[in-house]
Symmetry: D2
Amino acid sequence: MSTEQNREQGRTRPLGVAMIGYAFMGKAHSNAWRNVASFFDVPAFEQKVLVGRDAAQVAEAAGKYGWAESATDWRSVIERDDIDIVDICAPGWMHAEIAIAALEAGKHVLVEKPLANTIAEAEAMTAAAASARAQGVQSMIGFNYRRVPALALARHLIAEGRLGTVRHIRAAYLQDWLSDAESPMSWRLRKETAGSGALGDIASHAIDQIQYLTGQTITEASGLLKTFVAQRPGLDGLEDVTVDDTAWATFWLTGDMGASVEASRVATGKKNDLQIEVYGTGGALTFNLENLNELGFLDATAPVREQGFRRILVNEPDHPYLEAWWPQGHIIGWEHTFTHQIRDFLLAIDSGEAPSPSFEEGLQVQRVLSAVEESANNKSTLTMVKKNVFSLEGA
Amino acid sequence: MSTEQNREQGRTRPLGVAMIGYAFMGKAHSNAWRNVASFFDVPAFEQKVLVGRDAAQVAEAAGKYGWAESATDWRSVIERDDIDIVDICAPGWMHAEIAIAALEAGKHVLVEKPLANTIAEAEAMTAAAASARAQGVQSMIGFNYRRVPALALARHLIAEGRLGTVRHIRAAYLQDWLSDAESPMSWRLRKETAGSGALGDIASHAIDQIQYLTGQTITEASGLLKTFVAQRPGLDGLEDVTVDDTAWATFWLTGDMGASVEASRVATGKKNDLQIEVYGTGGALTFNLENLNELGFLDATAPVREQGFRRILVNEPDHPYLEAWWPQGHIIGWEHTFTHQIRDFLLAIDSGEAPSPSFEEGLQVQRVLSAVEESANNKSTLTMVKKNVFSLEGA
Amino acid sequence: MSTEQNREQGRTRPLGVAMIGYAFMGKAHSNAWRNVASFFDVPAFEQKVLVGRDAAQVAEAAGKYGWAESATDWRSVIERDDIDIVDICAPGWMHAEIAIAALEAGKHVLVEKPLANTIAEAEAMTAAAASARAQGVQSMIGFNYRRVPALALARHLIAEGRLGTVRHIRAAYLQDWLSDAESPMSWRLRKETAGSGALGDIASHAIDQIQYLTGQTITEASGLLKTFVAQRPGLDGLEDVTVDDTAWATFWLTGDMGASVEASRVATGKKNDLQIEVYGTGGALTFNLENLNELGFLDATAPVREQGFRRILVNEPDHPYLEAWWPQGHIIGWEHTFTHQIRDFLLAIDSGEAPSPSFEEGLQVQRVLSAVEESANNKSTLTMVKKNVFSLEGA
Amino acid sequence: MSTEQNREQGRTRPLGVAMIGYAFMGKAHSNAWRNVASFFDVPAFEQKVLVGRDAAQVAEAAGKYGWAESATDWRSVIERDDIDIVDICAPGWMHAEIAIAALEAGKHVLVEKPLANTIAEAEAMTAAAASARAQGVQSMIGFNYRRVPALALARHLIAEGRLGTVRHIRAAYLQDWLSDAESPMSWRLRKETAGSGALGDIASHAIDQIQYLTGQTITEASGLLKTFVAQRPGLDGLEDVTVDDTAWATFWLTGDMGASVEASRVATGKKNDLQIEVYGTGGALTFNLENLNELGFLDATAPVREQGFRRILVNEPDHPYLEAWWPQGHIIGWEHTFTHQIRDFLLAIDSGEAPSPSFEEGLQVQRVLSAVEESANNKSTLTMVKKNVFSLEGA
């Protein structure tokens, strides 16, 4: 039954929500479900059931995070009549199977990024999403940073032409949690289980933002990947790390734009530093996720004497999402990017308008990541620097 | 006569200095010559003669900038017995001819960067410098940012191991003086006269710093170049801009390091924003030329609870070059990178130890720039992003 | 029954919580109650009942904010056997009556700051709290900024001697929501209802911090008060504003310390700018509430060459309260100062150890505010500047 | 002979300059004299003679700083016919005698701040300046921070009404060079020789700025002074420090404004941190001397969504004094506040218009300092905080 039909017929009960996975992302999504209705006007829903593999642990998590029940078999859960929404926080290699099954069962689906670990899976998911959408069943991928108020404001300003014609974007996502070479091996560091390293995990956010903020599409990519810590201690001695810990990429976009991204998990001292700079003919914007309540804005049409990057504290009722929160200057935390995401997802379900970012948009990001990897594997991307005839030593 | 001979025999008169060129760089170098002896103990010298093409203008400039005489024929000046040092601030295409002639005439030579507009010229200059050096005649290229106290301190900290093993460097040089598409055509925007655009003019500083700070050498390069404003108003209508206004490059260095540089003259709102970040296993450094009296430093060996990037105000007597200046916290300006450069050049002449950066080091930077251009011209550097089967419009 | 008795006998049911008031502070406290158990190990409790004057509105708020029931008569609620805790978010003039009644009824009490509008009321409350405490009934005043992780860390660092001997503290609390002279009259701007203006509302936070961070007590005060916008539009035309909109104060503390506070509601462009600087013989700290996840720290025992204020991103598991939250660099919002406050209050009830800040501490802040007002009303505080004999005009 | 007469009659030779004193301020002033004509169009002048007490040392300083001669007897120098300008960098207690003698001898006088150590001396100097001015002989006091381009821009913006009606100013001048209690005793720490401590030395700059930026006059003052390090090692053991090392003051100004100043020489970690904030009904400004090329500006008339403090890099040709210097973004140093001061002083001499700040303005600052001291000595300025009946220990 399509949402529109649902609305016409009058939904007689709250939407039932099931969530699969209760690790880091499960905790963050639960927090959003638990709080969204205290701040925003959203259709009624219930946190019905949390699904995980370990019965005891998932039961405890359900209690802690506000879910009425817990379960271990996601297949039976998505078949339940009282479940309308499936929120998938399981690891990436499980996304395709669960999402396709849920969509086919007529459930609205929210899936964490990355969409899938392979292009083939992502394509299958996208096809399933398109079919479901035709039936009024919605789907969305969790690029939650689109719901940072400052970045939503940035997109508005760009769309309104406040930057003139955008020329280039500089982005970086820098963390340091793998800086220590003694930090142990894990599934995130194996290509088979993780797909890629810093590239897929965090550069993907930057890539989505580049396209989201400008409304343009990346068409060509040049990239390099590096694994600075090539081996890490496993259970039986050192094991090979088979994904990158640092990634560099340069892009051409439609609209005659250029962009660059650098992502690292070994950038000592940087904790969660997603930084974005957008340069246009009429202005510029800057952003850093470690100060996510702020947006830098330079209006190049002001008299030169008065120009300068201003720090907008994006905490006013006039700012996206902020009317729901606290008085001006009382900053909100990282977690509410998810609260806003759930709000928008629920409103889309209610209105019957397809939410964004769609699986198609998630697939596009996967294709960009794939092109970066292909370029990085291509020997011709790099040019040797010729040696000086005169050595510095001999000088 | 070599400096060593000179010292042994006792120099009986102050060093005579001639400077060629009196535009932006000439003004900056003159300022350094005029002030260096008021702050530093340097060998005695005299600002003898300023050389330029327009007799009246160069005479006026000489008076204003503290030169005893002016002249229009650089060839006769470098032959004068009372001239010991030739400081070349003429445009890049004149560097090779003047520098080689001066070195052959036994004059110590300081030449502005870039070393030359072509690799062939740079090689010839480097050969001449090597020959002259064997005779005690010194030469140096003006990568003046090596004399920013904060960057000199950065190099010390890295050399002392305070960053552990350096892994990657992020650098950018962002300006916006060509952001306006109506800004007119000039010789700096033609490949024949300027060699390249943002790449050679400003990325070169970042490239020199990457090698200077780490003590490593760039061996491979990947790059892309872009000219956002492809035509500009000339005297007779629109003319083609034949150099880049934005450049992106990624590098591998000896020592298993990676580095990236982005340079732009159209980064709206950025004025002289040379930013450098260095990440090592034991710490990190950050720098921005718009706040050149500051160095960011994170010591990753401190307890996690207390870690954070600190802003070192590099204005203490303990800091490089600073004992000569003002009390702590009284910041110095950009111009004194040149004052320090002249000081170090004079001390090298006095001691007979070859100064750095040498012409060889300048040539190495030219080779890196050349590799970036070659990569940028190579079609294989870029990989196409495959289009989604499902168009966003159709969704 | 004391908590200790309660624990010994085994509490057989969750603690029942009632909250009185559902405006700004009620929303913030509710959010804390709703979420605290999802992040922290706290004794079991239930959000039983929300109390307000308007039956329909309080019922709606109760549903939105997670309370099981609503009520309009606080007196009957505090008598209920299933209520163990009373959280008072009603306006200041109601604090004394409710708090004393609740304490006498054996309920643990959390009361928002200021403790009361008059010293007499505050003294009566403090006496009631002391009596109740002797019976194991706890009480606490909501100086929530003590639970900012960065400020809790600051207190630890000072207590550990990392600043050496603290000499002076600079604090300011700057807002601008009354900068607009057309902003209307309200109860907050009348002395009868609000007690004071910026002084009691926001300077009180700064005063509490000065004493909390240093562990010292303010003994003498000098102050000035000013009302820049003396009249504001009321329902029947302009009305007199009878409280300050800007306050300045200087203090002497025990321990031979000095401190200053400036508070303003008309500091254009400042939104929620509580800034604190602490200077000691061995180091210094800086803080700003608009970036509440950060603490500035300078270690003056480091070599001069490396000294500088560092920005500690107080988001590590090693930092106070942070283990419960998100991975490093994922910042938390202002609201969780209340979440932490509820956690600490619940743990104190559970352990039977009196929580801090106590009503005595709240009373001490009231006495300091009173001394500031007294000084401000004293003509002798100000000295006239003699006029120049030579007028500037006549010069 | 008045300047006007001089101009009418045609000055036939460059202005002859004598400078008295060659310590810190003498070095800074010399630098300004040596460079001003290389950047600005100023009337011709010559650095004639440097005067000091020690013949050998002053001769060496003269050579280093660009003075043609040196001398030890200031009285004979100010009588010389070839001297037109006397620049007084001697200690404060010598100002009155030298300045009055020089003015009476018909020499234009620039005197370092403070004007004098006593009000009586300052009044005598002001009288002498008024008499001399009537004869076309100019005088000026060296509040050099009026010549910081960013502060000159700030004054323009305020005068143009860009801040609407200014309400309050917050200023502080924080240094830490006396933070170390082992730092030795000196004449600067004795009341007889220094007049006062942080108050006269650095708070005076902040006080001058408050009046300069707003164009208003301080009429009333409340202040407190403190000497945290009361004894310091002298030649024969510990000696009493008889001046303040920290000062707090609050002011009322004409124009219904308030202002506060805090000055400290023991603010650990702060080097030369003169910070100024100006709040008006229509905007606000912020400044910090440690980043003197920047001005913070908030335009409160912009849409709320876009408001924020902008960082203006005051380095554009459109900015005060900047046309003379380097291209945009190439920052200038602290020393050029003096270069600009000399420029303005020379232009005033040339035009015959009295320069500002005049001795009258210097006297006004002295009177404010005096009022602060008087208030600080007045017991009634401070109010005791009553003790809590309930001790915290007993709780």
